[in-house]
């Protein structure tokens, strides 16, 4: 059921090819991750919109295979 950090990163990069992605396995159990994602695609969007984009990049896995993915999203600083 669980996912590896590499699998998560791959899914994110598929939707956000420009992104800088950092993933932490918070408990080392393959089920609780934190992802920091910096992408130009987030610029001008609300956090809810940004997180929704990431959830949709996760292709339905969020809340199912993946219990917890804490998100921190932003656009690159100019």
């Amino acid at each position: 059921m669980a996912m590896t950090a590499a699998e998560i990163e791959e899914l994110i990069l598929k939707s956000f090819p420009d992104a800088k992605v950092t993933i932490d396995d918070l408990r080392g159990d393959g089920d609780h991750y934190a992802a920091q994602i910096v992408s130009e695609q987030f610029r001008g969007l609300t956090r809810v919109q940004q997180h929704k984009m990431v959830y949709s990049a996760m292709d339905g896995k969020m809340g199912n295979e993946l219990h917890a993915l804490a998100l921190n999203t932003s656009a690159p600083k100019n």
Binding site: R47, V48, H51, Y55, G63, L71, N72
Partner: protein
């Protein structure tokens, strides 16, 4: 989603200015993420009502579709979806949440 589930959700959201969909209750949260949001709201002294999604499987699934958001907890303020645990925590840490409640006319 069934029409009556959607109506049920809409009614609860319309009837409660600050509403948290959570696992468990504010006194006995059943999930760390729900507990975190309860903690933030309590710390700020914001009065809120909550729905325990563990007691209602229809709402538990329905709210995810309703908000287009895959996880619980979910905070609604005056019918607007504000966010889940990460967003609430981040907004609390950088002070945005206080502003948000002030602008929404919610007093602590």
């Amino acid at each position: 989603m069934e029409q009556d589930t959607k109506e049920k959700i809409e009614n609860i959201i319309n009837d409660n200015e600050v509403l948290l969909f959570m696992k468990g209750t504010p006194v006995m949260p059943q999930c760390g993420f729900s507990a975190a949001v309860v903690g933030v709201l309590s710390h700020m002294g914001i009065k809120f009502n909550s729905v325990n999604v563990l007691e209602d499987p229809e709402i538990r699934e329905g709210i995810k579709e309703f908000s287009d958001w895959p996880t619980i907890p979910q905070l609604y303020v005056k019918k607007e979806f504000v966010g889940g645990c990460d967003i609430i925590r981040e907004m609390h840490e950088n002070g945005e949440l206080t502003e948000y409640f002030q602008e929404a006319g919610i007093n602590s």
